[in-house]
């Protein structure tokens, strides 16, 4: 169980794709849901929203950026090797219907999370405008897959190496000016989701964001992943991970994500030393 059947390195090896054997999860999973992975018995439980599922093959796909010890350990796992633990599907699925015109904004590995949601929105009959962003073009992932499920497609790079030279928010503003958009979905780094939500709020366009707080059990049992949404405390693992972007307290979320910065550094240093 939880064996890696296919593996790819993306974005200059900073982002890794794993297709994992998980028949039960692949049958049940819906767009927007996540799994929890643990590489070893001593490892941490890491939540990752699924990038794809293949019920016929009995597999799920995850895409993650290597940011600390746990993901560095994940990166070591090769085809044929297994995760120690894989749990899911967890969280509430994305609400999919024909809203009309939707705009999907993605950045970094958020694009992987956005992909199944965009595809489902497209299949439900929506006219989909996609805006993807990356620091530079060689760090952009899943361009072809996202283009295939979009009616209108935009790329933005911070360094101007491809497409619009600048942030996704520039293009989003443009799209909202020119068209009557019914729904926005923004998934990516917290500042991206925060500023996209501020822009859509001005235009009164309903916006979903997918949050990635620190979790432990992922079933509502511990409350580690609590986020403030419209002044109420919600548990992202069971009430989310998607929330109304106009109501999320992104600043609090960003601070809580930094809860263990010192410990993460200690862990990473020990890992690099033992691998040296």
């Amino acid at each position: 169980m939880a064996k890696i059947v296919h593996r790819e390195e993306m974005a200059q090896g900073t982002i890794i794709m794993n297709e994992i054997d998980a028949p039960r999860i692949s049958r049940k999973a819906k767009p927007g849901q996540f799994v929890i992975l643990q590489a070893d018995e001593t490892g941490e439980r890491i939540p990752l929203t699924m990038a794809d599922t293949n019920p016929d093959k009995g597999t799920i796909t995850i895409i993650y950026m290597v940011v600390g010890k746990s993901t560095a350990r994940f990166k070591e796992l090769q085809v044929g090797e297994e995760y120690f633990a894989l749990i899911g599907p967890l969280g509430a699925p994305t609400h999919i219907e024909n809203f009309g015109k939707v705009v999907c904004v993605g950045g970094g590995t958020g694009i992987a999370v956005l992909h199944p949601i965009t595809r489902a929105l497209k299949q439900a009959g929506n006219e989909v405008t996609t805006i993807l962003g990356a620091r530079s073009y060689d760090l952009l992932i899943m361009e072809d897959k996202m283009r295939a499920v979009s009616d209108h497609f935009h790329i933005c790079t911070d360094d101007g190496s491809h497409g619009h030279h600048g942030f996704v928010t520039d293009v989003l503003k443009d799209v909202l000016e020119k068209d009557n958009i019914d729904l926005a979905v923004a998934i990516g780094p917290i500042p991206m989701m925060k500023f996209c939500s501020l822009i859509t709020k001005e235009k009164n366009v309903k916006t979903f964001v997918s949050l990635n707080p620190i979790m432990v059990d992922g079933t509502g049992m511990c409350g580690c992943c609590r986020v403030s949404v419209g002044g109420d405390t919600k548990f992202a693992c069971v009430d989310g991970p998607e929330f109304d972007g106009h109501k999320v307290d992104f600043d609090e979320l960003a601070k809580r994500l930094a809860s263990y910065l010192d410990e993460e550094r200690t862990s990473m240093e020990a890992f690099e030393k033992s691998n040296a």
Binding site: Q38, T42, V216, G220, G223, R226, A258, E263, S267
Partner: protein, 466 residues
Amino acid sequence: MAKKEKINRVTMPEQDPDVRRRNFEEVPLGLTEEMAMTEAKRCLQCKIPSCVNGCPVSVPIPEFIKCISEGDFSGAINKLWERNALPAVCGRVCPQEEQCEGLCIVGKKDKPVAIGYLERFAADYERKNGVGDVPPVAEKTGKKVAVIGSGPSGLTVAGDLLLKGHDVTIFEAFHKTGGVLVYGIPEFRLPKEIVASEVATLEKMGAKIESNTVVGASVTIDELFEEGYDAAYIGVGAGLPRFMNLPGENLIGIYSANEYLTRTNLMKGYRFPEYDTPIAKGKNVVVLGAGNVAMDSARTAMRLGADSVKVVYRRSREEMPAREEELHHALDEKIEFVLLTNPTQFFGDENGRLTGMECLKMELGEPDASGRRRPVPIEGSEFRFDCDLVVVSVGSNANPLLTNATPDMALNRWGNIVADPVSGKTTKKGVWAGGDIVTGAATVILAMGAGRTAANSMHDYLTIGW
């Protein structure tokens, strides 16, 4: 019979408080063979034993104690196993003073027989010296049972139904079995090796374990029936921590007791960085609440190196719901009780990290619905103090994950599963439930008692019918 010479109740040898408050080793060290045999001789071997009436799973107490008094330790464990699949656990965490020992006749004039210590002794002796016997299993019935949750009630159901010859699969959401025995109760109170050994006994009896499976998310109960299961038992625990809804409660450094204990126990945060999951090591720690879980949290914080640990509770010492023994252990370990005090808000720095809190002094008014005197705030008594870690331990509600996925099963207005107290049957055919998901947060042994009740009813269903 000649008049017996009076023997004083045995004193459990313990780690010295000043040493143990900084380590995670078990606090009580266990009885020696001599101590156990001497203590066992204090039992009057009552013809109609009251102690058994106090036991939710009706352990044959005089019989197992008689075996110990005669030095027949394997006889003792076999007597225990007749009624209790988890004696090493119960000997440690049952509130014996309210149950068996509370009804012991010796206890009327003297201190009661140390039944809990003796149960623990017999189970530990078997684990260390036994030949690996397992309770004999009846002939296979060919019926398949799904036990959902591997905590105390689920393990009891599994043990009972295996004995009766049914095929049992235990589904556990985490990667390790044991439920609250593993994620909640700390190592120094219940070594995890003991839980693993009790589960290993069930596996030897034929139990199959499916860990990393969240029933309700990975698979539904109806899908389990489609897969060929004949009956299901839900023992998933309460599992939804309560917070106090106070300003600042999402500051970094404020944990639910569930998170604090799960990081420390299940994920072994106390051994970071050998284990990857971190746990904040507070200097000035405050635990809100005064139950057993609060004591576990406070004692854990002390072991993680705190300078000071305060238990803040809105009522007085008398109303603290934790076991007396746990309160003593906490006080011995220099944990401070700040009573008649209620938190009102938390303060943090620019990085969102907790720096302090504000509380209000309380006084006791008229008794409330629970019969306990209601704490009333004293106006203008607000005071502030510094703290860098708060553990909120004010109870749990019913986790809705499984029940939301099972809409044809009735719940009460708090979201707990409605189960018949006599049989453990839910309103859904073929499904039983017990433990905290039915009663709200309670004790390990009550959950085991509910498991026993349900297992009997499930056996009737599997052999006779609903």
